[in-house]
Chain length 332, copies 2
């Protein structure tokens, strides 16, 4: 028990410096306190990850920390919310080393600084099972202004930020299962898997230009399907318009069947949103200011269902589901 206490003293020493917000009370109280500016509401999202399920057991702890934070920030970006802070609960596995803690915390510190947020509180426990992490992140939006999944209208355009498929192939690259790619492309894709880029500036400034939105975590086809279902609409998209990175183009040119994996694989953390055509110019201007690529891949239709046109002009069909995290935020 003394050993466990020392472990914890160690953790507290590492975590306390992350609690930069005065509302965290230096992690010395039972709770944190957060003000919400007048006219604003609080957007809140939670994600849990388990070693061996959601990340590789030998992933560097700093990358695990940064991805966990970024995945939650991506949810806030999708909802148009400005990040305000986060709580974290950590179930540490036995065999925890001080080096693991130090790396984990260094990753959090780096991304806290980069994204301008801080730890507000949480809980740490020991587990006989795998390392398990849970983050609840908070952001502010104008009251009534949270971007939901339900507002897509027939005639709206379907937009994607960045490129799709890098996360799924990045996992393969990180596992050494993508030998056909160059070392440079493998490194690019693995980095996209480990360090998704939450589209915060763009997501917040996009505001009500978009009619509906979410972030792509379970695969473009599945997530766009959720948005369309929630909105009571359908869409037609062209698979050839789905934006791909040069690294992924190289792979897919050699084996077009991989395109199907790119749009179903998940772990993209790009924003998918719908907007009326009249907003198109403003959206492109905003993306240019944010230094972000945006692409229209199709149109919302009155007819329900998602119609995907393949590279050869014929319809593609997809199995329902595919790999999904068991997120309660999935539209089931």
């Amino acid at each position: 028990m003394a050993g466990a206490l020392n472990e914890f003293d160690l953790i507290a020493r590492y975590l306390r410096p992350l609690a930069l917000d005065p509302g965290a009370l230096g992690l010395k109280d039972d709770a944190a306190v957060l003000s919400v500016p007048p006219g604003q509401e609080l957007v809140m999202t939670a994600d849990a990850i388990v070693a061996g399920v959601h990340f590789l057991p030998d992933d560097p702890p700093d990358l695990v920390a940064r991805k966990l934070l970024r995945v939650n920030l991506s949810d806030l970006a999708a909802k148009g919310a400005r990040p305000a802070g986060y709580l974290m609960t950590i179930a540490w596995p036995h065999g925890l080393t001080e080096a693991m803690v130090a790396q984990f915390v260094a990753g959090l510190a780096q991304d806290q600084a980069g994204f301008g947020i801080a730890l507000l509180g949480g809980d740490t426990v020991m587990t006989p099972g795998p390392w398990t992490l849970s983050v609840t992140a908070f952001g502010h939006v104008a009251a009534g202004g949270m971007r939901t999944r339900t507002g897509a209208k027939p005639g709206d355009e379907v937009w994607i930020t960045g490129t799709i498929g890098d996360g799924a192939f990045g996992l393969l690259a990180a596992q050494g299962s993508l030998p056909q790619a160059s070392a440079e492309d493998q490194a690019y894709l693995a980095n996209r898997y480990h360090l998704p880029q939450p589209r915060l500036e763009f997501g917040v400034r996009l505001g009500a230009l978009a009619s509906a939105g979410l972030d792509v975590s379970d695969g473009l086809i599945a997530d766009l399907g959720h948005l369309l279902n929630a909105s009571g609409t359908g869409a037609r998209i062209d698979i050839g318009r789905v934006p791909l990175s040069p690294a992924l183009w190289g792979l897919i040119a050699g084996d077009p069947v991989l395109l199907r994996q790119a749009v179903t694989g998940g772990d993209d953390y790009e924003l998918c949103f719908t907007a009326p055509p009249a907003a198109s110019q403003d959206i492109r201007a905003l993306a240019a200011e944010s230094g972000l690529k945006v692409t229209v891949i199709g149109q919302v239709t009155r007819e329900q269902g998602l119609c995907v046109t393949g590279l050869d002009g014929t319809p593609m069909t997809f199995e329902a589901g595919g790999y999904r995290h068991f997120g309660m935020d999935d539209s089931l």
Copy 2:
């Protein structure tokens, strides 16, 4: 994978009915949204529990759910915050049965109704390890009005709600390790272990009558020590004034050494707070209105450190620590 998906469909069907707050968006979006009334702030607290560490693997799932919720509500009560909702992340173990899910959700539904709160969102994942649960609970307080650990002043009285030690001995009773107690007393104590009573009404109405406060989760001696350290004060308390239930008195009368376990064992979820003597009458009146027993056990002193007078009038000494959860909210 199809089996896992069906499991999850099942879970979603069970969890969605808990999401009664409109801000939960029926768990169909990436995030929840919460309004904070003008002039109020949000208090937030998080706890994680692991099967086999924080609860017994064969504890009925409805009791596990209710205790997890209550432990978080107790933190809000300690801070004077009116509950507003909660997010939950669940890592389900393999071998999950529909009966477990149904019982777990029934427990949440029962306590949601009893305490007037609802599920706002969260995440569910599968784990190869033990069942792991994390709750982030939210409450409202008047801006600047959160009761902290830091306000205790020399001359303040030290108060306790309810009775101390039932949780620690209730764990023994639940494990069948308390054969010297009557069946009735064992049942009483086990119930106190499984279903702590968050002192919400009293905790909210107590407001600024108290100068500092927390809830007793790690043992009275340890937690009062945290409060006193945070306040830069000490206290003298009489062990004979610590309020005990009749069930526990029965045990301790037969073996006074057990009193030491009662004040260090933890799992009490009673409020410990300090208040100036001038507030005493108002506090007693408030407690009477809430149907709650409150007891003064000593006084805050300018001299740091906690002096405990034993039943024989001589000072008692305590080892630092004892069993503690690894809460980040511990003052280390």
